[in-house]
Amino acid sequence: MNGLALVGHQFRYDQKAFWRNPAAVFFTVMFPVIVFLILAVVFNGEEVEVRGGVEATTYYVPAIMSLAIISATMQTLAMTLVIAREDGRLKRGRGTPMPPWVFIAGRIGNSIVVALMMLVLLAAIGAALYGVSVPWGRLPAILLTLVIGAASFCCLGIALTALIPSQDAAAAIVNALLLPLYFLSGVFIPEDQLPNGVITFADLFPVRHFFDAFFDAYVPAGGAAVSWDNLAVVALWGVAGLLLAIKFFRWTPRSG
């Protein structure tokens, strides 16, 4: 097989393993849907004072899409790669003729496909239950934002594995990093209800910038569909993650 066919081969089996893994499916697919439904029920009818005011349900569609994309990429990769590393599965793969980049590309492909599915799923739920219109005209901007964000958060997820010493620590470390950032970035609590300074602090991290960019892409109330400045910050984080991943990613178990 040539390189690209091999990536496709790897991707097929990554997909099988992903959909059979109850923890991965719950946290990546079910959790964002449940969170969206809870927030939509609680805040339904309210208005959020951003971009001249939007319905809360409209606000939460791109918010939870951002969460779902980060979950499918950074969270899924960090967790499954650490588990595979500590199982010795990465090491075993390195003993075969398969080029290492093929393995990583298959995993990234898996993450991006799941992220796209979550986009479709949440758009459908938002439209069907709360009449949040799907902005078809902005599809190129949405896909561009998704791809830049997904790629960047994949790199960050791979880099993060270097900080995770064991399988048991994986979920704790990933959630300890991401859950506060979701709150501080206005993903769970509408940003007009956050105290001054919180968003300024959250702006130091990529989650906030990605959510901002995704909001602009998805909600016509904002100005331009492509938020280049936010995407640039996200991409910079991604490049930093990539460099750290290249330097510190390891294929052999840390423990045992």
């Binding site: 089996y13 099988k16 599965r89 003993g95 075969t96 003729p97």
Partner: protein
């Protein structure tokens, strides 16, 4: 060859012949895995020359990896893939893989082909692990402690698989800390202890077991008597001749040569003592 602060192995000099089962035997912590990881290309050596299938593992590339198979000491499997899927996944990595069904029967998992790895017993998982190393139809197979922690019947099955590999003409580099495993499977054995090689030879000749001292034991006047001799035929003749002449019995007469286990324990204990 060292890593971190400690020198793990030194002065290891090994030669493995094509088509043989070579056992690298030693206690835990002796440096077996360090050595085998240098041969597999996982670990860099600080000094020395290594050639595996004509190439230096540190620099060898894809072509070389097409020709070797590796079973790690502790490698788990993807719990969500079936036996067949795990093997098919790996088959895709190689240019000319062995058909999956053939591999499944080589490792004796015919009835389990569509079972997920998480539902296999420990011994069956290990055999799937061996299968994944065989998918590429390698010339040389590394097996790092393939039966550690197995119950006797799982060990016997794993041994049958390994014995079958020799019949296929594979070269097998087996590390183990079980003497009976080396004795049962290997054409040649090298014993390592405390990072140094302490003995090498065929299982029968190891440590001059067949020309070393023989012990003759018997009881006389209620006492245990043990005679060590390098010439057991003469010693026995004199002993039994004298007993017959006096019309006495030699109670509990026993003639023993050191077992491979005795040789092994003696050699490794001495080496570890010296290393302190």
């Amino acid at each position: 060859m060292s890593y971190g602060e400690t020198e793990a192995v030194r002065g290891i000099d090994l030669e493995v012949e094509r088509g043989e089962v070579f056992a690298f035997l030693g206690p835990n912590g002796a440096g077996k895995t360090t050595t085998v990881e240098i041969l597999e290309g996982y670990r860099r050596r600080t000094e020395g020359e290594v050639s595996v299938l004509g190439e230096d593992p540190e620099r060898a590339g894809r072509e070389w990896r097409e020709r070797i198979g590796i079973v790690l000491q502790s490698g788990r499997l993807d719990p969500y893939l079936t036996v067949r899927e795990s093997l098919d996944l790996y088959a895709g990595y190689f240019r000319s893989p062995r058909p999956t069904d053939e591999v499944i029967s080589l490792v004796g998992l015919e009835g389990k082909a569509d079972e997920r790895a998480s539902r296999l017993s420990g011994g069956q998982q290990r055999r799937l692990d061996v299968g994944m190393a065989l998918v590429g139809d390698p010339e040389l197979l590394f097996l790092d402690e393939p039966t550690t922690g197995f119950d006797p019947s799982a060990r016997r099955q794993a041994w049958d698989v390994i014995a079958g590999l020799r019949d296929l003409g594979k070269t097998v580099f087996l590390t183990t800390h079980y003497m009976d495993e080396a004795q049962r499977l290997a054409d040649r054995v090298t014993i390592i202890a405390a990072g140094r090689i302490v003995a090498r030879g065929t299982p029968e000749h190891l440590g001059q077991r067949d020309s070393g001292e023989t012990t003759i034991r018997y009881r006389a006047d209620g006492r245990e008597i043990a005679v060590q001799t390098t010439d057991p035929v003469k010693a026995l003749h004199e002993l039994t001749g004298a007993a017959l002449a006096k019309g006495e019995e030699l109670e509990g007469l026993e003639v023993t040569r050191p077992s491979l286990e005795d040789v092994y324990l003696e050699l490794t204990a001495a080496a570890e003592e010296n290393a302190k």
